[in-house]
Structures are given as structure tokens and as C-alpha cells.
């Protein structure tokens, strides 16, 4: 795997010191640069990276799932020991405990793409589902499919369409938890002018909450 372009060890140490949440990237950036205690990490550098002080990983919609699947053991161990994983996008190759494939929705109209709240979770407190259904008047950015086979102890927060097909869910694994969102990256809404922008800080708060994040 890549070894030649990742910068000096000194730079890395400075960048990652104090980072509690890592956003995994594919040569792009997560848009979270400058957020306290969040750092981007190229996906291909994950193996061998010291995660002992990291409490959460953000896995976005563009990640290489073949590579993630090859490193499922690393991810499962991270969750088991209390880490939190936020996974956005469409899981095709399940790469962590409890994941099953995403199913695209054969949508016909806006009603099919309407986001319905069916459970409560702090990541979405104060977020109006209408602001998730529509972005600049267009439906579908937030989700166009669902996860039909979630673990039995999953808390479903949002469903899609009249049948409320599960779109957002949280489930435990070992001492940690997985937050699954079947659409565009939650942190991509950070700059929106609607209540959808609340998701990003609330997601980071949730990841850090059980790890003494507020005390450090």
C-alpha cells in the first residue's frame, strides 16, 4: 500500500496529537479541518496507526470498502473496546460487526424520499426532518435507500418514505457503538443554513461524550 506521500513523522505527530476523532479520507479532505480534536487520516494509513487515544472514526461515502473489509478485524476491535464508528454512504461489502448491505430504494416521488423520525438520539436533537428531506428544495441528498437487516438491538432514528425504511440507526457492539447513515456524509451538512447543520457538532459530542471528552 502507499508509503511514499504521507509526510514526515514530525508533521504527523503534530497533526494527530490531541485528536480524539479521525475522519478517514481518500486523498480528499473531510471539510472538518480546524475542528478541535478532529483530524483527517488517509484510509490507507489506518493499519498500524495508534488508535489507543482515539475515541471515534468517521467513515464517509467515498471510502474503499475492499480495503475496509480486509481490515475488519481492526475496526471490530476498535468498537469492541469502546470506540464509536460513524458510517455514512452505502455499504456494499460489510466491513464491520453488524453491517449488512444497503438496498437502493426504487423511489417514484418526493413522498418516497421523505425522511421520517421514528426514534430519538442526541445526534439529531433539534434537527427538523424537513431539513433532511430537502436541501435547496431537492429531495434525496440525505438518503435514497435503506438498511433492511439491522442488528435486532439497533435503534432506528429515521426511516424513508411511507414505510419508514431504516435509514439511520445506532447499534452497540462490545463496549462501543456504530452509527449508520445510508446517505451523503452527515458532516457534509456542517455549513448548511438549516437545522441540518446541528448534526456535525452533535455527532462529535456524542462520539466524545463517553470518553471523558468534556473533561479533557
Amino acid at each position: 500500500m502507499p508509503t511514499d506521500t504521507w509526510g514526515s513523522t514530525t508533521t504527523q505527530a503534530a497533526r494527530y496529537s490531541g485528536a480524539s476523532v479521525l475522519a478517514l479520507t481518500m486523498g480528499d479532505d473531510s471539510g472538518l479541518a480546524g475542528t478541535p480534536r478532529v483530524a483527517d487520516l488517509d484510509l490507507y494509513r489506518l493499519p498500524g496507526f495508534d488508535l489507543s487515544r482515539v475515541c471515534g472514526l468517521l467513515l464517509g461515502a467515498h471510502l474503499d470498502q475492499i480495503f475496509l473489509r480486509r481490515h475488519q478485524g481492526l475496526l471490530d476491535e476498535f468498537i469492541s473496546r469502546g470506540g464509536r464508528l460513524a458510517i455514512c454512504g452505502q455499504v456494499v461489502l460489510p466491513f464491520a460487526a453488524g453491517l449488512t448491505p444497503f438496498v437502493p430504494l426504487a423511489y417514484r416521488n418526493v413522498d418516497d424520499l421523505t425522511v421520517r423520525r421514528v426514534g430519538e438520539h442526541p445526534v439529531w436533537h433539534g434537527v427538523d426532518p424537513h431539513d433532511l428531506t430537502f436541501r435547496r428544495g431537492v429531495a434525496g441528498f440525505y438518503g435514497r435507500g435503506y438498511y433492511p437487516a439491522l442488528p435486532p438491538d439497533a435503534l432506528v432514528v429515521h426511516g424513508l418514505g411511507p414505510n419508514a425504511y431504516p435509514l439511520d440507526a445506532i447499534y452497540p457492539h462490545g463496549a462501543g457503538e456504530v452509527l449508520l447513515h445510508g446517505g451523503n456524509d452527515i458532516w457534509g451538512y456542517a455549513g448548511d443554513t438549516t437545522s441540518a447543520a446541528r448534526m456535525t457538532p452533535q455527532l462529535l459530542d456524542w462520539i466524545m461524550a463517553e470518553h471523558g471528552g468534556a473533561k479533557r
Binding site: 502507499p2 506521500t5 486523498g27 490507507y44 461515502a61 467515498h62 471510502l63 454512504g89 437502493p104 435547496r136
Partner: protein, 210 residues
């Protein structure tokens, strides 16, 4: 006539995998090539077996760049190289510049004219693509070397600001088709019928190589 051997270079993202599993795409029996496998000689050797290599959109730009010469080698031996958007092609294709533009996902709703003009109507690609297939959003503008065939451009203030689709038969003995559109991402993410048509029709065109 023997079947056109098409390779799809992908990066393992959900939309790459979903596109490979699409029955219409699978009908062309493409050879899936996983980008990190090009780090191995055996992976690069598979490029030699292809008539057409399609570099899928949205690949890790550092990895693509590292293998840029191997990818160009496909066109240098006379075969076809198709380069889709968001792979920083200007950093590894010779003589190509790129300028960013804000991506307008909403033009069809706001009534904005994306300013896309189709060129070279006699080109055989238009036997397979409908001009509507290339009128959606794009990711920046290309400024290719002289002598290429423009197929779609963006006009700003009445003048061509850059290309979003062109064919280059002058830089190598083969042909290089380049675009700044990302049809695999949008097709594989279940989002945009025009992206699906562009991808399917591109495949049809390259499979009948003229």
C-alpha cells in the same frame, strides 16, 4: 469479430462496486481492476490485455497519479483510454490544464443554464450518446493540448471557457477520451438518470470501437 476487452479501473468505493454489479455494465464483461492492485507487477500486467481502459471517476488522486504512466501506456500502444472526472487528470495526462468551477447540482431546479455546448456533431460518439446525456453538472473545466476533438464545452459570457468532454487522438497512437463528469459516482449512488445514460452509452460506444 472478437469481443472488445474493456477494463474498469475502480477504487472499491460503494458506487464503483454497485456499478460493476449493474447487469447492463456486466453485459460488457468488463475486467475489474482494483487501483491498489496496480502496486503489483501482476496487476499492471493486466492493463496490457485491454482494448479499452476506463478510469472510473472519483479515485484516490495520489494513487492514480502514481500509476499515471502505466495508464497512459494503454493509449501509447494504440488502445483506448477513457478518463472520467475527479481523478485529477491534469496532474498525470500530458499537456492538460484544469480550472475549478463551483459545482451546480441545482441548475435544473433553479433554471440556471449550465452553459454546456455540444461540439463536433459528426463524431461517431453521438451515434451512441444523446446530447442530453452530457448536460448535467461537471467538476471543473479542461484545457487540453492543441489538436484534440472537442465534444462538450462550457460557455461563459458567450465564449468557450473550457471543455468537459473531448477526444485526443494526437498525443498518442491510440485515443484518450477525457471528461470532468462523474457518471459512475452518480449511477452507482442511485441518484441521476442522466449519469446512468452517459455511463451506459459510453460503454456502448467504446465496445463498438470505430
Amino acid at each position: 469479430m472478437s469481443r472488445t476487452r474493456i477494463g474498469l479501473l475502480h477504487g472499491g468505493a460503494s458506487y464503483h462496486l454497485t456499478t460493476l454489479a449493474d447487469p447492463v455494465v456486466a453485459g460488457y464483461q468488463p475486467c475489474p481492476l482494483y487501483l491498489p492492485d496496480l502496486d503489483e507487477a501482476a496487476g499492471r500486467a493486466r492493463l496490457d490485455e485491454l482494448d479499452v481502459l476506463i478510469v472510473c471517476d472519483r479515485l484516490h488522486p495520489q494513487l492514480v497519479r502514481r500509476h499515471g504512466q502505466a495508464l497512459l501506456g494503454v493509449a501509447r500502444r494504440g488502445a483506448t483510454l477513457v478518463v472520467l472526472g475527479e481523478v485529477e487528470a491534469h496532474t498525470w495526462l500530458p499537456g492538460v490544464d484544469w480550472t475549478p468551477r463551483p459545482t451546480n447540482f441545482w441548475w435544473w431546479r433553479t433554471g440556471d443554464d449550465p452553459g454546456i455546448q455540444v461540439h463536433t456533431p459528426e463524431h461517431p460518439i453521438w451515434h451512441h450518446l444523446d446530447t442530453k446525456d452530457v448536460v448535467w453538472h461537471y467538476h471543473g473545466l479542461l484545457h487540453p493540448p492543441p489538436g484534440v476533438t472537442p465534444l462538450a464545452s462550457v460557455d461563459e459570457e458567450g465564449a468557450t471557457a473550457g471543455l468537459i468532454l473531448y477526444e485526443d487522438r494526437v498525443s498518442t497512437p491510440g485515443r484518450i477520451l477525457v471528461t470532468t463528469m462523474d457518471p459512475v459516482h452518480h449511477h452507482g449512488s442511485n441518484f441521476m438518470p442522466a449519469a446512468t445514460r452517459l455511463l451506459h452509452n459510453l460503454l456502448r460506444w467504446v465496445s463498438v470501437a470505430d
